[in-house]
Amino acid sequence: MSLTATFTVNGVRRQVDLPDPRVTLLDLLRERLDLTGTKKGCDRGQCGACTILVNGRRTNACLALAISHDGAEITTIEGLATDGVLHPVQEAFIAHDGFQCGFCTPGQIMSAVGLIAEGQAGMDPERVREGMSGNLCRCGAYAGITEAVLDAQARLDAQDRSQAA
């Protein structure tokens, strides 16, 4: 049985042969599409290093079978910057030193983008911490991560206001 699936990955439509139905979205990205920015830390949905956006929602790519997401729109860390310009969340992570070793960082950033889009946390640091708590950081860069998410949220809010005006 030969299976194919179609994904829109970072804005590019890709048809993928999936001869093996066991392939997760994470392993598809990393091992077959050479998008290695998304990391594998635990492979069982406990660490968040593999967080990507699937149809705009934060998703642990290690827990998602690729074949069951046929047709999905996927955004990974590689698709966040546009034309070489960093996304405000990426900029804020650098400015606030929201990482050390950097291994959890792609997942943290995608989770932050998702959280901001969800509009659940606003500018409340406690809710940001809660909303970012599915993403582990063993280096302990949490203070910088929280600052970065709040800073990026403020900048994105300001952008929205200026666009609305």
Binding site: D20, R22, R30, C104, T105, P125, R138, G140, T146
Partner: protein
């Protein structure tokens, strides 16, 4: 949110234009775009996937493996077992020196710990190899596992840590205890812990016509190269290792591990590039851990609260087949003045993977016990914990009597206490509650870590276009080597950082020594600094002997290097650019070399340590016993700060490790089988974002003329030490993660929330 002020190094501590600046990470853009390449991100053409099969028993032998079933699975290329593993040039059980740890490389069918590799399945895809590994369906002849600190006959280890004597004393502890007006005798236990770097150990290995090409995370490239060379009987310089970024190490990537060697063997067996990545649960065995300890402290004090005796004894565990003994008692060598002082260790051998250094080995485990005992003694003396520590402040290193090269701990206590508001703390426990009725407790602890120096080399080049090149095989595991070392390199050459190409992270560069012991910036940084000095001296020599140079004849007055120019020291208006000097001399470049190493004379004369003080507020639910850390203030004296932004992050990371030690992490071993019961990030708890309190770090001004040329001390690990929190439950706030009660058995009596009596294992707060 976190109260965060970026504490810049005072101006007089800055050197040149780069050191002391809070630059953002130079590799930052790569890390936030996913372009930073960690080992497992490499996919060379023709690559195969290797997956380990690991033992589900802790002791015995593998009786059978269904290799045929694995081989029959589509996509399986080969299965490596003890029967067909390629030959090695060296016995994996050989041990030529203490830093050479024995490995399980399928040398036989013995199982000496749970999660030990017993076979390697190699497939065209990760999915096939993973399935193949499960199809092996091993059976075992199982023997009874020896577990727990009472699981074996204890003995006195020949040495603890890396070559430290197991027992040291000064004065007469028994006489000191007899003369004391108050004594305490308390026992504390700390659990086994696992490094759990976010990046699992990984390797991509290819055998080529030129030798062996490897991508793997390493905190010690030259040592890894040497170890691989010995095992495979090949020349070290035929092995090229790339380790530009480590996804965390914490000691577990200091030495190359058995699974990484198995990846190289799989590549050799198949003649194709192979990727092998540990699964998270496979990291609970073959790649080291922090050993459990049981520590007994006996303290005596006179009527005025001065210590008369301090006896610190540790029982710890190593594996049945190799030696690493957690040097927990050694913390008492350094911290508190006592005329009578004794430290000792005993150990048992268990059916476990060999323990290893994990972030502050000995200091983390030892200070949690010592600091708890100090708090209990303060309580017994009716004294404030900080006042008691000041009463027993060590002006010279207690065990050796040597003066400290520098020690601004009093200032750490003062600034930390002031910022925290410590003076408002009531002496008696259970006096403070918040508006929600939670008990509020304040506690504090002292941090210390030796200012170590290993050995490193560096190469500096000044090029004809006026730019510089600096090379050392340094390792960035998140501590900021790419940035901080580049800052030192640029100042060493008198250039702006953007004019210097800095190369690190590969094994073909000069040996930067091991990134461990919080010594990497000091050691590799000193080598870079000296290489820069050497290159500048050679450049100056070209100019000083050239009568057409404005620097000609500067001779005894000398020159200074700044902003890409050499200036006469006695007349700074007379200067010449590097490019002009090299152009006129008609040479393409000048090259310098430098070494970083400890100064034996200074080490003989002085005790060298970084210090700090951490103040913590916790809140305890009086009904549920749930403890949450809500506020931490740390003040640290760590010598010269190279990059305050990165130091802040390192200190916060260390403080969070302290919270984790106190409230979260604990490996649980099944006493019947010897298997780790929580080998995953859902059940082995490390703090999540919501667990982390408001943090504040103060860097106390400290200059040290003795520790090394740059005045750099340990910056990272000291923060994780010396903090102990009142224990018992985890605050499970992470969505989708169980809130288990991971109870630790040690306690801290200085915290106001302390519901139980001192000196006894802490049980959850009783319902009231």
């Amino acid at each position: 949110m976190s109260e965060i002020a970026l504490n810049q190094a005072p101006a007089h501590l800055r050197q040149g234009s780069n050191i002391g600046q809070p630059l953002t990470r130079r590799e930052g853009i790569l890390k936030v775009t996913g372009a930073a390449t960690y080992a497992a991100d490499n996919n060379p053409p023709g690559m195969l996937y290797a997956v380990l099969a690991v033992s589900s028993v802790a002791r015995g032998r593998v009786a059978s493996l269904d290799v045929a079933a694995a081989r029959a699975h589509p996509g399986i290329v080969d299965v490596m077992t003890p029967g067909n593993r390629p030959a090695l040039a060296q016995d994996p059980d050989a041990k030529d020196h203490p830093f050479m740890f024995r490995m399980e490389l399928l040398q036989n069918d013995r199982v000496r710990y749970a999660n030990q590799p017993i076979a390697v399945v190699i497939g065209e895809t990760l999915e096939a190899a993973t399935e193949g590994a499960t199809l092996l369906a091993p059976t075992y002849e199982t023997e009874t596992a020896r577990t727990g600190l009472d699981g074996g006959e204890s003995f006195a280890p020949p040495a603890v840590g890396v070559g430290n004597p197991a027992s040291v004393d000064r004065g007469d502890v028994e006489a000191g205890l007899a003369a004391a007006s108050r004594t305490i005798d308390a026992t504390y236990e700390t659990p086994a812990q696992y490094h759990n770097a976010m990046e699992p150990h990984a390797i991509v290995a290819s055998w080529t016509a030129d030798g062996l090409s490897i991508d793997t995370p390493s905190q010690g490239l030259a040592m890894a190269q040497g170890r691989i060379a010995g095992l495979f009987g090949i020349a070290p310089d035929s092995i090229h290792i790339r380790s530009p970024y480590l996804g965390g190490g914490f000691g577990s990537k200091g030495l190359i591990s058995g699974p990484q060697i198995l990846g190289i063997l799989a590549a050799k067996m198949t003649g194709r590039p192979v990727k092998l990545v540990l699964r998270r649960e496979q990291m609970y065995g073959p790649v080291g851990h922090r050993a459990p300890t049981r520590q007994r402290l006996r303290l005596g004090a006179d009527a005025g609260g001065a210590l008369t005796a301090l006896d610190h004894h540790t029982r710890t565990a190593s594996s049945t087949f190799d030696d690493f003994f957690e040097p927990a008692s050694d913390i008492s060598h350094t911290l508190y003045a006592s005329p009578n002082l004794a430290t000792s260790h005993e150990a048992v051998r268990l059916d476990t993977g060999t323990p290893l250094f994990m972030r502050a080995p000995g200091e983390a485990t030892g200070s949690i016990a010592l600091e708890s005992a100090i708090d209990e003694m303060a309580e017994a003396c009716g004294m404030d914990p900080l006042a008691f520590r000041l009463r027993n402040y060590a002006d010279a290193e207690p065990i050796s009597g040597k003066p400290f090269s520098s020690k601004a701990l009093r200032e750490c206590y003062r600034q930390g206490a002031e910022r925290f508001g410590w003076s408002a703390r009531p002496l008696a426990p259970r006096q403070m509650r918040d508006e929600a009725g939670l008990l509020v407790g304040w506690g504090m602890g002292t941090a210390t870590f030796p200012a170590l120096m290993f050995a490193a080399e560096a190469r500096a080049v000044i090029r004809r276009d006026g730019t510089g090149l600096m090379e050392t095989g340094a390792h960035d595991m998140g501590q900021g080597a790419w940035t901080a070392l580049a800052q030192i390199a640029a100042d060493g050459l008198g250039l702006d950082i953007d004019r210097v190409e800095f190369r690190a992270g590969t094994s073909d560069l000069p040996d930067a020594g091991i990134a461990g012991g919080s010594a990497h910036t000091a050691t590799a940084g000193t080598a870079l600094h000296k290489a820069g000095e050497d290159a500048i001296a050679k450049l100056a020599a070209l100019a000083l002997r050239d009568e057409r140079s404005p620097l000609y004849g500067a001779g005894n007055a000398g020159v200074v290097a700044r902003d890409g120019r050499l200036h006469r020291r006695d007349d700074e208006s007379r200067s010449e650019s590097y490019a002009d000097i090299l152009a006129r001399a008609d040479v393409p470049s000048v090259e310098g070399r430098g070494k970083g190493a400890a100064d034996p004379a200074a080490q003989e004369a002085y005790a060298m340590h970084a210090h700090g003080a951490v103040f913590a507020e916790v809140k305890v639910d009086p009904d549920l016993g749930q403890v949450r850390a809500t506020r931490l203030v740390g003040a640290f004296a760590i010598g010269r700060v190279i990059n305050p932004r990165m130091v802040r992050s390192q200190i916060y990371g260390g403080m969070i490790w302290g919270v984790s030690f106190a409230l979260h992490e604990k490996a649980i071993v099944d006493a019947r089988t010897g298997r780790p019961m929580n080998p995953n990030l859902g059940e082995y708890h490390i703090p999540v974002n919501a667990d982390v309190p408001a943090l504040e770090a103060i860097v106390v001004d400290e200059q040290d003329a003795h520790v090394n040329a740059l005045g750099i001390k340990a910056w990272a690990r000291s923060a994780s030490r010396g903090r102990r929190g009142p224990s018992p439950t985890r605050s499970g706030t992470r969505p989708g993660r169980a809130s288990a009660s991971s109870r630790s058995r040690w306690t801290a009596c200085s915290a106001d929330d302390q519901p139980a009596g001192c000196g006894s294992p802490l049980e959850p707060a009783p319902h009231r």
